[in-house]
């Protein structure tokens, strides 16, 4: 689904990634790589195959959009370095384009490890009037892209129907991205009248009726 923010066009993808067309930049939040391995290391047997899924998803969106630049909006890695780092490194080598990590609260791996594999790490990023952070942040005259919250939405209909879905959550000066990673969960938000919600339903992104 294509939306317009301040004369720029963005593509909302059902994976939870956001593609900035003019700049050929892919924006991804909260992948939480290493989470499954972290659990397993502590004796909690989360299925191994879920590890591969995260990398498959990353590869799929890269192949789809062929971005020149990828911005990770934090919580790229869930924990300290574990075996998944090697898989990540392998993924980075085949990934063309520049990689930037806007650090989040889970990103505790030392920057130098990222530098070694060619990833730039920053606390925040400004491009034109766009402002990229992990935590949703307000800044005057800027439009903020962020993650952290893992936004979700509850929908209701006739016949006492309800649905809970991941979503892109847009406030007047802010767009909060859903968590990209498998095994990450969601946090249900209640929109205000001037918020816009794009729900992810399978392979589609759907604008929610106001």
């Amino acid at each position: 689904m294509k939306i317009q923010i301040q004369d720029e066009y963005f593509n909302l993808h059902s994976s939870g990634a956001l593609f900035w067309e003019k700049e050929k930049t892919l924006i991804i939040s909260d992948v939480h790589l290493g989470k499954v391995s972290h659990f397993r290391k502590h004796g909690i047997a989360i299925p191994q195959n879920a590890v591969a899924e995260n990398f498959k998803r990353l590869t799929d969106v890269i192949e789809l959009f062929c971005p020149h630049k990828v911005i990770f909006l934090g919580d790229l890695f869930h924990s300290s370095k574990n075996a998944e780092w090697q898989l990540f490194q392998d993924w980075v080598t085949v990934c063309t384009g520049k990689l930037i990590l806007v650090a989040g609260n889970h990103d505790i791996i030392d920057e130098k490890h990222y530098h070694k594999i060619g990833i730039e790490v920053v606390q925040l990023l400004e491009i034109g009037s766009f402002f990229f952070t992990h935590h949703p942040t307000e800044k005057e005259n800027f439009f903020n892209f962020s993650g952290h919250i893992h936004p979700g939405i509850t929908l209701r209909g006739l016949g006492l129907q309800t649905l809970k879905l991941r979503c892109f959550f847009q406030k007047p000066n802010q767009l909060i991205l859903p968590a990209f990673g498998e095994f990450t969960g969601k946090y249900i938000l209640k929109p205000n009248q001037d918020d816009i919600v794009y729900a992810i339903a399978g392979n589609e992104v759907i604008l929610i009726n106001n």
Binding site: F39, I44, A45, I46, E84, L160, Q193, G202, N210
Partner: protein
């Protein structure tokens, strides 16, 4: 000393108390001293405790002739009780025998309430008689050198076995016993059970399939019949009776009359939230009860509960509002009346509660049934019949609970480690795992050692390791500690401690309830109006709220019980009687309701199956009335919803109670068309149910408990939830990961199987469908909701089933916006 001499000691002791032993007591002594195992069927308050404590002490006397002068230390007997609150009482009984007989034995309690210092002391030197819970017994198996602790233990008693049977704690006990049989060569195993439908099976589950222990065992019945009188509380004016509701507060004045007329009254409610509300309202409306009134339920802290129990015994209380927490154990002679609020959903439970009153010899037990809504009065009248005819339900034991097995193997692995072949032999003799295959077993072993069935590169899974002697062990201290913390959490929701900011512990509360509150919100808990201040480190910090503030009542899940097959049969017969002249007082009282029902619809007879449809602002309702109990209705509702969804693209929300179920949709359903399409066919039931399960949340909810027990959800350290958040995940999320990435996982399969076996009761469902096929289907298109439908359509806890695409559904929905 020979047996005659030992019996003289026992008889003299009884005579000194002014008692005479019952036949069941002497039978038990004889069997025990002969070295037999057994199951004793005796109700609470019958002297069952002495039936087993005495021979345990006598056996010690026999083996230690100079018992009065010399003490031979070491664990001799274990007494397992399902409720740790009962252990004090049991200890007192044991000490009484020991002191009087001048045996130099020691008695100790070991449970979640025992201090760490005391536990360490016990480990160095075990008491002769140990009173403990199933969880604490597992914890003992998780300690190093446990074989030495148990090797000379000569008996183990499982008290209130009927409460454990049919639960996963029962499976825990089965597993522990399978180990003890090997470790303690001469152990006698005894169970004590109240009357249930399947006593014989209870004996087999306790002792194992075709084991030596089972063949050398007896079933002893106390044959103590108590007279029970059931009285329905019926108001003079029936108009005031609500069509729905689950509190019964409109009858508070009638309840107060009963309270005033008796020495002590126990009011049993089915759920803890109802308990809280009844307590509050009684106090508001009858302030004169203040000081003579108390509340007792499982979430209230132990000190308070003990105080309440003692106060009942000392006749200091006029009324106690309680839940099943007072079902078991200790006797309260002064209790004169029992009030049951709402359907007890089981005859055994109802009779047990009735038995809480009238303990003086020759006195009959009186129980008042207070129906919370009109239709429940039919249940009252059916219950009376059940009590008269002694219709008592079974407790169905769990089979192949892989979650409990995984937990058990981890337990053995943290202590001294285990050898798979030896353990496999032991567990395949238990009732629960009698059909376990080598394949299942290998799967479980792979699961605890590799965390999967095949090895992956880059995998760092670590839990159970295999050492050079092929012994399975947990070596990581942190994993061992995590596991020990988890053992106690076999049942229930994640709970949090409720504390005052100023200090002072109030009780425990389910996390999901608290998660709905914001700081500043007020709620009622343990009879107090509290304001939520903050949630910190798994603790709920509260302060006293101003009395004027509006509050929520703390509510608890798991309160919904279902009618048993036997009860639903009686219920149907009672309802059909409404069309005859032969009316019970309850049915007579319901006349105005039946009149209203007949205006729009019918009151079905034995030959009719009623379906009602009508439209409200919520959508199109279709209500079916099989009167088969909640579980069968849950299954039938999913089955029918699924079948209809195959024919037309549609989304349903489903609701059910013990009388019927509802399919609610935004589209009208052509009932006749669906019936013509074999809607109620008994063919392909299993297949269709299985498919419908995939589209509802039932298995997902079962998986919640399974994942906690199997250690997939780390609940953290009670009281100090520091630095463990990074290992926590919701069980919802967990279910999805397993479903998507490891569909063959046995624990996931177990969730589906348990839904089938313990919730949907497929067998009963098919029988219900067969019965319905014999009936004439009466489809009433009503203009508005009928009295029968009311309790169902107002139920908000609903299951969903849909065959529409997500996009189709979303188009018809809106988000709820902040106001």
């Amino acid at each position: 000393m020979n047996r005659e001499e030992l019996f003289t000691i026992a008889n003299n002791w009884f005579a000194n108390q002014g008692w005479k032993p019952f036949p069941f007591q002497t039978q038990t002594w004889t069997a025990f001293l002969q070295g037999k195992n057994g199951l004793l069927n005796a109700p609470t308050g019958s002297g069952k405790t002495y039936a087993l404590w005495l021979p345990i002490v006598l056996n010690y006397i026999k083996e230690n002739p100079n018992y009065k002068t010399k003490h031979n230390p070491g664990l001799k007997a274990i007494w397992i009780t399902p409720l740790r609150s009962l252990s004090v009482e049991i200890k007192q009984a044991a000490e009484r025998v020991i002191t009087d007989l001048e045996a130099k034995m020691t008695v100790g309690i070991r449970s979640g309430d025992t201090s760490t210092a005391e536990r360490t002391k016990q480990k160095g030197k075990m008491p002769d008689l140990l009173i403990t819970t199933p969880e604490s017994l597992q914890l003992l198996l998780a300690s190093k050198g446990y074989e030495n602790i148990f090797k000379n233990c000569s008996s183990i008693v499982i008290d209130e076995w009927h409460e454990l049977l049919g639960t996963k704690r029962g499976v825990q006990v089965e597993l522990a016993l399978s180990r003890l049989k090997t470790v303690a060569k001469n152990i006698r195993i005894w169970g004590i059970s109240a009357t249930i439908g399947n006593l014989q099976q209870a004996q087999e589950v306790l002792l194992g399939i075709d084991t030596e222990a089972y063949h050398n065992s007896v079933l002893i019945k106390a044959h103590i019949q108590k007279k029970i009188k059931v009285v329905s509380v019926i108001p003079e004016k029936m108009d005031a009776y609500p069509w729905r509701g689950h509190m019964g507060l409109h009858l508070i004045d009638e309840a107060a009359k009963i309270i005033k007329a008796s020495k002590t009254t126990l009011i049993f409610t089915n759920v803890r939230s109802a308990c809280e509300i009844w307590y509050q309202r009684l106090l508001e409306k009858y302030p004169e009860f203040a000081g003579e009134m108390a509340m007792h339920h499982g979430s209230i802290d132990r000190e308070t509960r003990l105080w309440v129990e003692n106060a009942i015994r000392n006749e200091e209380l006029k009324v106690v509002v309680c839940t099943s927490s007072l079902d078991l154990g200790v006797d309260f002679a002064p209790v004169e009346s029992i009030i049951q609020v709402g359907g007890p959903k089981g005859v055994a439970r109802f009779m047990q509660r009735a038995g809480r009153s009238g303990h003086q010899p020759g006195k009959e037990s009186v129980i008042y049934f207070l129906a919370t809504h009109a239709i429940e009065l039919i249940e009252a009248s059916a219950l009376k019949k059940a009590v008269e005819n002694g219709v008592i339900e079974d407790r169905v034991p769990y089979l192949n609970s892989w979650d409990v097995l995984v937990q058990y193997l981890n337990t053995l692995a943290v202590s001294d480690g285990f050898f798979p072949d030896e353990i496999f032999k032991e567990i395949s003799k238990t009732f629960s795992y009698q059909t376990i295959s080598k394949e299942n077993w290998n799967w479980i072993l792979n699961f605890i050692t590799n965390g999967s069935q095949s090895l992956h590169a880059y995998d760092e899974f670590k839990k159970v390791e295999i050492d050079e002697n092929s012994c399975y062990k947990i070596t990581s201290r942190m994993i061992a500690m995590h596991h020990r913390m988890q053992i106690g959490t076999i049942v229930g929701d994640a709970v949090m401690n409720v504390k005052f900011i100023s200090g002072g512990y109030i009780g425990t509360i389910e996390e999901w309830f608290i998660s709905k509150l914001k700081p500043g919100d007020t709620f009622i808990f343990a009879g107090k109006k509290l304001e939520l201040f903050a949630i910190r480190n798994m603790q709920v910090l509260v302060k006293k709220a101003s009395p004027k503030k509006e509050s929520k009542i703390a509510s608890w899940m798991g309160g919904r019980m279902a009618l048993s097959a036997q009860m639903s049969e009686l219920l149907r017969q009672e309802l059909y009687r409404a069309n005859t002249e032969n009316l019970s007082p309850e049915l007579k009282a319901l006349k105005p309701l039946f009149l209203r029902q007949r205006k729009e619809s019918i009151v079905p007879t034995a030959d009719e199956f009623l379906i009602e449809t009508f439209k409200t602002i919520e959508g199109f309702h279709a209500i079916f009335y099989p009167f088969e109990g909640r579980f069968v209705h849950e299954a039938l509702a999913s089955l029918l919803a699924f079948r209809i969804s195959l024919i037309q693209s549609i989304s349903f929300s489903l609701a059910y109670n013990d009388y019927g179920f509802e399919l609610l949709s935004d589209q009208e359903i052509d009932i006749q068309g669906m019936l013509d399409n074999n809607l109620l066919s008994t063919e392909y039931v299993h297949h269709d149910l299985q498919k419908s399960l995939n589209s509802t949340e039932m298995a997902r909810r079962k998986f919640r408990d399974i994942s906690v027990i199997a250690g997939l959800v780390f609940t953290g350290f009670p009281g100090k939830m520091v630095k463990t958040k990074h290992l926590q995940s919701g069980s919802q999320l967990l279910f999805e990961v397993f479903r998507d990435f490891e569909p063959d996982n046995l624990l996931l399969h177990q969730a589906y199987r348990e839904t089938f076996e313990h919730q949907l009761e497929e067998g009963r469902l098919i029988m219900a469908l067969e019965r319905i096929q014999e009936q004439e289907i009466v489809w009433k298109q009503c203009l508005k909701p009928t009295p029968f439908s009311f309790p169902i359509i107002t139920d908000r806890l609903r299951e969903k089933l849909s065959s529409e695409t997500l996009a189709e559904r979303i188009q018809k929905m809106t988000a709820s916006y902040m106001k």
